[in-house]
């Protein structure tokens, strides 16, 4: 029963290492997927646009590649997170729910705020990538807040 004094890791430690390994594989797959999407988009873009630096409307991709990247995006932003939700325990699921809620509320409040500020002449008109960035950044900030402060 004494796990620390034994040279062999206890059964619990072994399972924890296995869990950590699975998590690392999950993150590696997500990173590779992101790299492939970003790399392919940047390498094969035939237009003047840029997904991250603005002007994404002027991007031009071969149709087959565009469909392939769309499928990868669906995997990266839908299938992978849903699988991740199944993989994690209650505690991490709660943190992820806080993060997703933060992202969702930021978009729900962010768009109308941005629109009225634009109407008042303070900022440029709302655009799709800006809304996406609000969701992504606020989701990440909510995750960090939930992980270390709640």
């Amino acid at each position: 029963m004494n796990a620390r004094n034994s040279s062999e890791p206890g059964p619990g430690e072994a399972r924890t290492r296995q869990r950590r390994r699975r998590q690392m594989i999950f993150l590696a797959v997500a990173a590779v997927l992101g790299g492939v999407i970003g790399g392919a988009t940047g390498f094969f873009d035939q237009g003047d646009g840029n997904l991250f630096a603005g002007g994404w409307e002027q991007m031009k991709l071969p149709p087959a590649l565009a469909i392939g990247i769309a499928v990868l995006l669906l995997g990266g932003f839908l299938a992978l997170p849903l699988y991740g939700f199944k993989m994690v325990d209650d505690y991490k699921r709660e943190i992820n729910l806080v993060a997703f809620t933060g992202g969702c509320l930021s978009v729900l409040s962010g768009f109308p705020i941005w629109a009225v500020l634009h109407a008042g002449g303070f900022v440029p008109a709302p655009h799709a990538f800006g809304i996406f960035a609000i969701a992504f950044v606020s989701m990440y900030a909510s995750f960090l807040f939930a992980r270390w402060r709640l």
Partner: protein, 66 residues
């Protein structure tokens, strides 16, 4: 919610990773429960009670008991 998880774990000389593996949760979850940042779900509370062969209310205290 207050709990005796850290004491019970220390009595058995288990690390957080060891307890986490035995409960099939992450080490961060054990840490969050021990520090009172996270209340376990009912199924997890039962697993904890079973592992330490105690009743749930002997491990967790919601402050309502006289």
């Amino acid at each position: 919610m207050k709990n005796r998880l850290k004491v019970l774990r220390a009595e058995r000389d288990w690390s957080q990773a060891e307890l986490a593996g035995r409960l099939d949760v992450s080490r961060q979850a054990v840490n969050a429960i021990e520090t009172g940042k996270h209340d376990p779900s009912l199924p997890l509370a039962f697993r904890i009670a079973r592992l330490f062969e105690m009743r749930i209310e002997e491990i967790f205290d919601d402050g309502e008991n006289p």
